[in-house]
């Protein structure tokens, strides 16, 4: 399995601002995914990010709100733009590497929007 780190681990932000979350993996991976876990809820996929191509967004999520970068095979960022209190969630990145057909998750970024 891969070792995944996320920065920041948590943040408290003001309404209308933006936050960029970083996801770093200790090995090269093809697929990276970004999920949201709203308070007391399960995980929902925001988008899938492949290196060298545009991210693919799930229904209900748009690039203007959640722009994603994937500059290389070990790194990705998710930006939460023009935040509102409804964006308060845990944001997790996951990766699928090698031949395991299994996703492994980072520790998450706990975001609170006031």
């Amino acid at each position: 399995s891969a070792v995944i780190s996320q920065k920041p681990s948590r943040d408290i932000c003001q309404r209308g601002t933006s936050l960029t979350i970083q996801c770093q993996v200790d090995s090269q991976v093809t697929m990276m995914f970004w999920y949201r876990q709203q308070p007391g809820q399960s995980l929902t996929l925001i988008a899938t990010a492949n290196q060298g191509s545009e991210a693919t967004y799930e229904s209900g999520f748009v690039i203007d709100k959640f722009p994603i970068s994937r500059p290389n095979l070990t790194f990705s960022t998710l930006t939460v733009s023009n935040m509102s209190p409804e964006d308060s969630s845990i944001y997790l990145c996951s990766v699928e590497g090698g031949r395991e057909d299994t996703q492994y998750f980072g520790p998450g970024t706990r975001l609170t929007v006031l």
Binding site: Q41, S42, L45, D101, T102
Partner: protein, 114 residues
């Protein structure tokens, strides 16, 4: 498209008692099935998975799950739980073949009482 139903949102049990966390899925294609665990204030950890082969899969800490295709179920069991098993457990499904998104159930909060 896939969907997952975890039939119990909360399961309280006494220490050393057996437990079963129920998971049913729906899919029109072959699937991979996963159980993830989220300990308090931590990220998601893979507990066990079914990709192919034996329908009974086990984790290193005594949990097991059985893939039942006819009943579209993947229930998680442990014969004797410990206080340290207190956590949120998520069942997830993806299409078979890798590089596919995970669809999560709503989660089951397992609480172990002394």
């Amino acid at each position: 498209a896939q969907s997952v139903t975890q039939l119990d949102s909360q399961v309280p049990v006494f220490e050393e008692a057996p437990v079963e966390l129920r998971c049913n899925y729906s899919s029109s294609v072959s699937v991979y099935l996963f159980w993830y665990v989220q300990y308090p204030n931590q990220g998601l950890q893979l507990l066990l998975k079914y990709l192919s082969g034996s329908t009974l899969v086990e984790s290193i800490n005594g949990f097991e799950a059985e893939f039942n295709k006819s009943q579209t179920s993947f229930h998680l069991r442990k014969p004797s739980v410990h206080i340290s098993d207190t956590a949120e457990y998520f069942c997830a499904v993806s299409g078979a073949g890798g590089a596919q998104k995970l669809v999560f159930g709503q989660g089951t909060r397992l609480t172990i009482n002394p």
